[in-house]
């Protein structure tokens, strides 16, 4: 096809063009480079890059990730070493080298806060992955198959929905307490209780996508059931699941802190923000800082993930654009 606008029919090979066909062959439109990203994800990324809320949450999350993988970059003190705690200096205020002061055991609050990020992030991320994969796959299956499969799985999720979450988590962690699972007990408890939410969202999104013409067209052109499920339904139903997963991640981190605070989550000597808050609460009026710092870090982390989830939701919903 030539680049110049065609006024006269241009004979191509042996094919001669009739008058009608010339109308059907407008000159190639030169599209500006800016208009390039045009898929749902491309548009969303284009949109996200210009959202301050997304940038701020991205930076915060990046810092938190670095902090949880390489805490020694931020703190020269190893809080797991007994030598760094001096009982004599317990509840001492901020001093050079100990910016956030010391806690009830005379340990450095700053170092513990930094090292506490890892458990929060690990628990938040793994729980999110497990719930997204389990809930997502089951939701995809239930939504695609419908019928008995859908009815049975939906009723099962309703049983889980009926369990009050903190009570359920207390029960699960208390039951498996003797198994010595470390922080994974928290992941297990939260995953068991949270997957139904992802399930529901995925199922609803799949059911919406399922009745759309392109799924019927794919069937009419010979796509198999599994191909329709993973190539046509999944990509079109993924957006809401990603959004809820991001928002949930913040929720899981908060839930971990709550469980640790209640004494059934992360156990000493492991470090967790929830645990630090629990330890510091008895002497809060005397020494507020050992409670304030982990609490602030916890709030900022939860906020960052929820902000990110909000931004992603707005970007993936074309109607809000």
């Amino acid at each position: 096809m030539s680049d110049t606008p065609q006024v006269e029919p241009v004979p191509q090979e042996t094919r001669t063009l009739t008058k009608d066909q010339v109308v059907a062959t407008p000159p190639p439109v030169k599209r500006p480079k800016e208009a390039r990203p045009a898929s749902l994800w491309g548009d969303a990324w284009h949109d996200l890059r210009r959202r301050p809320m997304f940038i701020v949450s991205l930076v915060l999350i990046a810092i938190l990730l670095v902090m949880s993988f390489w805490p020694s970059l931020f703190s020269s003190i190893d809080p797991f070493s007994a030598r760094t705690c001096e009982l004599a200096t317990a509840r001492q205020g901020p001093s050079p080298g100990h910016l956030f002061g010391r806690d009830n055991q005379g340990c450095d609050v700053y170092a513990r806060t930094i090292y506490g990020a890892r458990n929060s992030i690990v628990i938040g991320v793994t729980t999110t992955l497990i719930t997204a994969i389990v809930g997502g796959l089951l939701g995809l299956m239930a939504g695609t198959r419908g019928g008995v499969v859908d009815t049975v799985t939906s009723r099962i999720t309703e049983i889980f929905f009926a369990i009050p979450s903190i009570l359920g988590a207390l029960l699960i962690t208390a039951t498996f307490r003797d198994q010595d699972l470390g922080i994974w007990i928290v992941v297990i408890a939260l995953s068991i209780l949270a997957w139904p939410m992802t399930f529901r969202i995925m199922r609803a999104a799949v059911i919406t996508a399922r009745s759309q013409d392109f799924v019927i067209a794919a069937r009419a052109l010979g796509a198999s059931q599994s191909r329709i499920m993973f190539r046509h339904l999944l990509p079109n139903a993924l957006a809401p699941v990603i959004v809820i997963a991001t928002i949930n991640l913040g929720g899981f981190i908060a839930a971990e802190a709550a469980l640790s605070f209640l004494g059934v989550g992360v156990q000493s000597p492991d470090i967790s923000w929830g645990l630090m808050i629990a330890d510091a609460r008895n002497r809060f009026l005397e020494a507020p800082l050992p409670l304030v710092f982990p609490a602030v870090f916890l709030s900022i982390t939860v906020l960052a993930f929820i902000m990110m989830g909000d931004a992603v939701r707005d970007a993936l919903d074309p109607k809000l654009r």
């Binding site: 096809m1 009608d20 066909q21 109308v23 059907a24 062959t25 407008p26 000159p27 190639p28 045009a38 898929s39 749902l40 994800w41 759309q212 013409d213 392109f214 019927i216 067209a217 794919a218 069937r219 009419a220 052109l221 010979g222 796509a223 198999s224 191909r227 190539r231 046509h232 990509p235 079109n236």
Partner: protein, 345 residues
């Protein structure tokens, strides 16, 4: 639903003088909360290679449901096929297993939809979607598939096909999108192409181009085509024969020129008279009085009798059989002779 008969795929060349596709007394019904909707009530027609059958009818006449039954893309339940046969080269498709039907879909019988924008997956590029046909069914590599996709896009006359390979469906105009849908449908050289209102969503000039393209592709490959439409104007140039549907039944079967010369069913006559014509400019446009029948509560006797100007007493009580007028023509009207004679009412 599991079918028990052996999975014999229809032979490539066909058996003896079996037609390419034959529908025999097909019934389709839907179980709804309000009762059973009988969408298709005993439809029979045949299609040969290189032939175009236009299935004409208004919304709810069962024309699309018939096509979906042929493709096997009805959701069952709520849909049921209590009776009938769909023979493709002599093999009843309804008796095949789901796996065998998946083999037929797309490769042997393909379908084009009305609204190409919603019939194309919005999250994949058109090149990806066309080449998918080759990757899934022909085991081609991604690169070969893409090369074939360009070939096909050229074939359906999409300008600058290579550059537009990585565009998404919504970046194309309506006519171009329908061309992409057509490219996907003809990708594997099907023997039957079902086009369900392929031009309804397009404007008139583009309609003509798409019909022209379909007719040309059909001539090249000698496939049989079923063109479902409610637009008599679209049919005239392209179709060889016409089946007019009303209330889930075929009310008239005829070669295309016969029907335009003189319709043999009052409904067909009404349809023809309601086409706007230049020579009747200024006059009121004819419309068939009344509404299409409620499929939940079909009128007794002839389904068309409440709207029929030729109605006699027995139309209310007796369901008209499909009277044979000639070898190629049927009409389901007790008074087809009067209608055919042009007895104006």
């Amino acid at each position: 639903m599991r079918k028990t008969s052996p999975d014999v795929l229809p032979a490539e060349g066909g058996l003896g003088n079996e037609p390419l596709l034959a529908l025999e007394d097909l019934h389709v019904e839907f179980g709804t909360r309000a009762g059973i909707v009988r969408a298709v009530n005993g439809v029979s027609y045949t299609l040969d290679s290189g032939e175009t059958l236009a299935v004409l009818g208004e919304s709810g006449s069962g024309k699309s449901v018939t096509a979906q039954a042929i493709m096997g893309i009805l959701d069952m339940p709520p849909a049921r096929i209590p009776k009938g046969e769909i023979r493709f080269r002599g093999t009843d498709l309804l008796k095949l297993s789901e796996e065998a039907r998946t083999q037929v879909r797309g490769q042997r019988i393909a379908m084009i939809f009305q609204d190409a924008l919603s019939a194309l997956n919005p999250v994949f590029t058109v090149g990806w979607q066309i080449s998918e046909m080759f990757r899934v069914h022909r085991g081609m590599s991604k690169r070969d598939g893409m090369a074939k996709a360009v070939e096909l896009m050229d074939k359906v006359r999409i300008p600058a096909a290579r550059q537009r390979l990585n565009d998404y469906p919504h970046q194309f105009s309506g006519g171009m999108r329908q061309r992409i849908m057509i490219a996907m449908a003809i990708a594997l050289d099907p023997e039957v192409l079902i086009a369900d209102e392929p031009t309804t969503a397009l404007d008139v000039t583009v309609q003509a181009q798409i019909m022209e393209l379909l007719a040309e592709l059909q001539r090249e490959s000698n496939m049989g085509m079923i063109l479902i439409t409610h637009d008599l104007g679209v049919v005239a140039d392209v179709a060889d024969k016409i089946a007019v549907m009303y209330g889930g039944r075929i009310v008239e079967n005829a070669l295309v020129h016969d029907i335009y010369k003189a319709p043999a069913h009052p409904y067909t006559k009404g349809l023809l008279e309601s086409i706007p014509r230049v020579d009747l400019k200024g006059q009121e446009l004819y419309a068939i009085k009344g509404l299409p029948p409620n499929l939940l509560d079909m009128p007794p006797g002839c389904a068309f009798h409440p709207r029929c100007p030729y109605r006699q007493d027995n139309c209310v009580t007796d369901v008209p059989p499909l009277y044979e007028i000639s070898g190629t023509r049927n009409s389901a009207c007790h008074y087809w002779r009067e209608v055919l004679d042009g007895d104006n009412r």
